[in-house]
């Protein structure tokens, strides 16, 4: 039983349910890094932990809510976003964050993702993209790169993946960024910015997965090296150019930050005031 963490983590220790460590995630999975960064962001945000809420769905990333010591909800597959939206609309002063996987957010949850972006709900959605459905053994997901091998594309995937930043942009999001899990400093800053952004914030985090590496005959440490070295930070870039092709360089960075669009919650509050409901 884990009783305490290394002293470097004293600040985030109260925000982690350490009685549940070690995590269920595979060795070398970057989700543990995201756990550290999200809790660090809570500490640095200046917003008290009682005002933070995390909602996650089903899948490996979905287990994130179980390790964070704030009000945390682990709901059904694909439905983290509407649940989070419900909490935010009921108590707009809370900082609500969804952390879930690529399959959960853009496959089964795709409709909810698109509409929440359209309405510009003031929540942060961290999409952890590992290119596959890891928890269930390695089926293809809407972000599986063309040509990759998965349990449901054993001869090489014949589909094209989603370009999540482009999708978020087309739907109407206010803040869009993409990092790999190893660009931890940038990722932490993005999460902090997303907390502050009044509107729908999407952060796509590329994360190496042992299941994906195994299905595609790549050594996990080599996959990690690929994410660390082949990711290029670009600032002025067109959303169409953010497609992911396995083996090719990945473009990461902060792609959009709008402050001119009011959030749904702001507009509803205005409506209530006008109608006289206060």
């Amino acid at each position: 039983m884990v009783k305490e963490l290394p002293p470097a983590y004293k600040d985030i220790e109260p925000l982690i349910r350490i009685e549940r460590l070690p995590t269920i995630w595979c060795p070398a999975c970057g989700l543990g890094i995201i756990l550290k960064l999200y809790t660090k962001a809570i500490v640095k945000s200046g917003i008290p932990p009682e005002k933070h809420v995390i909602v996650s769905g089903i899948g490996c990333t979905g287990r994130m809510a179980g390790y964070v010591r704030v009000d945390s909800y682990h709901v059904t597959h694909g439905r983290a976003i509407p649940f989070a939206v419900g909490i935010k609309m009921a108590k707009p002063w809370l900082t609500v964050t969804v952390i879930s996987g690529d399959g959960d957010i853009v496959s089964i949850g795709g409709n909810h993702f698109v509409h929440a972006a359209r309405r510009n709900h003031d929540i942060t959605v961290i999409v952890v993209n590992n290119y596959i459905y890891g928890m269930t053994g390695g089926q293809s997901s809407p972000t599986t790169p063309s040509g990759s091998k998965t349990m449901t594309s054993p001869f090489g995937h014949i589909e094209e993946p989603f370009n999540i930043p482009y999708l978020a942009y087309a739907a109407g999001a206010s803040y869009i960024a993409r990092w790999t899990v190893f660009h931890d400093i940038q990722l932490l800053n993005s999460i902090l910015k997303a907390f502050k952004t009044k509107g729908f914030s999407v952060i796509e985090v590329l994360n190496p997965c042992t299941v994906f590496s195994y299905r595609n005959n790549i050594d996990m440490l080599e996959l990690i090296r690929y994410f660390r070295t082949k990711a290029i930070v670009k600032r002025d870039v067109k959303f169409e150019d953010l497609r992911i092709e396995f083996g090719k360089p990945i473009i990461i960075g902060e792609f959009l930050h709008r402050t001119d669009k009011p959030s749904f919650e702001e507009k509803y509050l205005e409506l209530k005031k006008k109608i006289g409901g206060g």
């Binding site: 290394p6 070690p22 543990g32 890094i33």
Partner: protein, 84 residues
């Protein structure tokens, strides 16, 4: 990274400290260390994972980059800063 003899002889004020019970033997810290001062220990923890240790004689190699600490998904290593 080229290390001159004089650098090798200096005492480092940084040192990675491991928490073996938290470790899952993933090897990221070993792989990512720019001065290649870590290796797997022949010992293993309660879960059966081999955890890292500093290579023999390399206790003062650490440059304090903290990549091991930053990239450890299991919060199992941190870089201690010795105050002189």
């Amino acid at each position: 990274m080229v290390l001159t003899l004089s650098v090798l002889k200096t005492k480092s004020k940084y040192r990675p400290i491991f928490y073996p019970e938290l470790c899952k033997g993933c090897g990221i810290c070993i792989d990512v260390c720019p001065v290649k001062m870590l290796e797997f220990s022949p010992e293993f923890n309660e879960k059966g994972y081999h955890y890292p240790r500093i290579k023999d004689g390399m206790e003062d190699r650490c440059i304090g980059c903290r990549l091991c600490e930053r990239y450890c998904p299991d919060l199992a290593v941190y870089v201690e800063v010795k105050k002189e």
